[in-house]
Amino acid sequence: MKKKLFSLLMAALLTMAVLGGCADGTGESSGDNSSAESTEDMASGQTPGADPSTQAGESPAYGGSAVVGIQQDIDSLDPHLATAAGTKEILFNIFEGLVKSDENGNLIGAVASDYTVSEDGLVYTFTLRDNVKFHNGNAVTAEDVKYSLERVSGLLDGTPLISALSTIQAVDIIDERTVQVTVESADAELIYSFVAAIIPAGSGEEEGAVPVGTGPFSFVSYSPQESIVVKKNPDYWQEGLPYLDEVTFKIVNSAETALMELQGGTIDIYPYLTDSQAQTLRSGNTHQVIASPSNVVQALFLNNTAEPLDDPLVRQAILYAIDKEEINTFVGGGTGSLIGSAMLPTLADYYVDLNDVYGTTANVEKAKELLAQAGYENGFDLSIDIPSNYEFHMQTGEVIVEQLKAVGINATVNPVEWNTWLEDIYNGRKYTATISGITCDQTPGYLLNRFQTESSKNFINYSNEAFDETYLKAHGAMDLKEKAEYYKQLQQLLTDDAATAFLQVPGNMTAISNRLEGYKFYPIYVQDMSTVYVK
């Protein structure tokens, strides 16, 4: 059964209003309060030239440069080692996989022009595109593809760098332009993991210093804590792209500085505005400010094994005590969508609305009752660790402290530095409660797989056998309808167990300088600069 790339995708798309696919295993998420994406319907009409080639009136000009403000330093230039969402959003411009996501959440061919999947879902055959060159000038060969896939899947040295791809059993070169990949078990979402970057054979560790990929931009320089500079890849396989000669990703640590830099013109694009900044900028007429839903699930993460949160009653009490509507009003200016579990409402086919379980407003009586039942009539002290570079989470923390006070829980905000957060809280799991966000990189399953007992990303230490079993069933389901059903059950389980206080999917405010056009909104966390041009 040979299927064209697009026809397979169309089938998948039939069942998804917005596909945020993701099967990337290692990809981590981090507390991104807001990210730069949108669903197709939100952005359309506002997006400055969703596709520059169809722009009426002016034709895009070549040349020039742009500066994009980003919130955090990157964790690795090696695309297979990078785990932070904030890093991947940049590397998207430098690297490409066999396939890549487009702005509608669909997969398009990148290094591969076409692929087929065997009927049993175990064999993927990729046909490589002819004219793809690495930034070092060499053409991409089947060898490079084999090397890259073996590297990420762990076939090379035993350590899978991208866990979703550890299912790969063998990568065989059929001929110069054809590569066959055999996987252990069928998974309808696995194809999304093939966005994993293709790098030159044998480059391995060098990638961390001088990344060489096939993307629209090639790496120029990286100054830690400061910026990453990329320049136009003249050999890019997509005809006519990119437009800009140079793009700088500038690390702007505080939201306040970002606003000043935008106004001063030292950064052109900033995708993480706060509500008030958006208002300020709108009045200035120098930038377009576009609201779109993000792909971030913001939550007050509760460590399920830390006292007193190891008691489900206490966690439920917290869920009842929290007023999500208030948080949305205060912190997001009402642009967020409230959620009751780990799924984006924009992934409509997979999403089940669980807001009613604990309510979107505070139920103080119920919370107090549960606390009394758990033996905490007089409340308890709760320290909420929050990555301090995320103003959005910090402000959310302030609101939550106040809401918990009403039920007798004496919460305090403890700002922690981002790297400390990653190390001690996300990886070390040494915390009681924290506010952060998890991003959906590709497929809906990505938001849920982290709650499996054994998942390395299960930093809330959630453990429920029923959940693990259901997840495995969902994972194995080849039928997307069936899969969706399992995913809904998983969300229900998380909510019933009060695993964590899911708050909202924050709205996203992106500022784009009036001098630029062609910025595309993605339903995943990336900054695609290839279509941006100077007016």
């Binding site: 205060f330 402000q395 700002p415």
Partner: protein, 270 residues
């Protein structure tokens, strides 16, 4: 030992006393009573402009800024006072000993103070905070340590000058104990200078505390302090200018008040 010379009531002293008095009073009252809760949020009253209902307006969470300024002023004053108390206490002790006895101790202490002075004070305090962790006690401790050298130097130079004075020599001949010479005979004569440096130190402490809280490592939200209010207000400079103005002007008021006050004291002693 009130002024023998100088003008007992000069306009600096009066203005300073009025300004600091008002601020301190507001701060003290703020600990017991504020017009509104300093943490209660209200969605309906976000960003209300200053009015009779909310003298200084409300902030992004709908909290009354005047109440928060009162509380913040109190917090700032208490922290600054403790910092001054801590640093001047140690400073006077070390300054007295080194100035009076000299010798190896003097050498050692002076080199250490040189080393401490070699760093910008905020930087040093930042390092200490990162070692100790943020929070109120650590803020007081680290700022206190950073400010010690300034007192050591002033007190030491005074003791150095006075230890050879005739009346000290005579006291010693009469067999007066060393501690008594140090703190009963000499200390009162150091006070005029010490007073002024205490006031200046207080000002520095206010600015340092505000600076640290502004940087997010002093008093933590949601608790109010002038510094962290200023930091929060920064994002709303254009949409709600009153938010930044209130804590900003309060800091100016406090610092100006103490400066005038110290100038007034200096003139009294002259």
């Amino acid at each position: 030992m009130a002024g023998h010379a100088g003008e007992k009531w000069n306009k600096y002293f009066a203005a300073g006393l009025f300004m600091t008095g008002a601020a301190v009073l507001l701060g003290i009252v703020g600990f017991f009573w504020t017009p509104y809760s300093t943490t209660a949020m209200s969605a309906a009253e976000r960003f209300a402009a200053p009015s009779l209902r909310h003298l200084f307006g409300t902030d992004n969470f709908g909290r009354d800024i005047f109440s928060r300024v009162m509380k913040g002023m109190g917090t700032t004053i208490v922290i600054s006072a403790l910092v001054v108390l801590f640093s001047s206490g140690i400073g006077v002790l070390l300054g007295a000993l080194t100035g009076y006895f000299g010798g190896l101790l003097d050498e050692a202490v002076m080199r250490v103070t040189d080393a401490v002075n070699g760093f910008p004070s905020i930087l040093l305090a930042l390092v200490m905070i990162s070692l100790l962790g943020s929070g109120r006690q650590n803020l007081i401790l680290s700022l206190g340590i950073v400010f010690v050298p300034s007192y050591v130097r002033i007190v030491r130079s005074e003791y150095l000058r006075l230890r050879d004075a005739d009346y000290i020599g005579r006291a010693r001949l009469m067999g007066v104990g060393k501690a008594r010479v140090l703190f009963v005979h000499i200390l009162p004569n150091v006070l005029p200078v010490l007073w002024v440096s205490l006031m200046i130190g207080f000002n520095n402490a206010i600015l340092a505390e505000s600076g640290m809280s502004y940087l997010g490592i002093g008093v933590l939200p949601p608790e109010a302090s002038l510094g962290n209010m200023l930091s929060d207000a920064q994002g709303y400079l254009q949409s709600a200018p009153w938010y930044a103005l209130a804590p900003g002007l309060s800091i100016v008021w406090l610092v100006l008040g103490f400066s005038l006050f110290s100038e007034g004291i200096r003139r009294r002693f002259e």
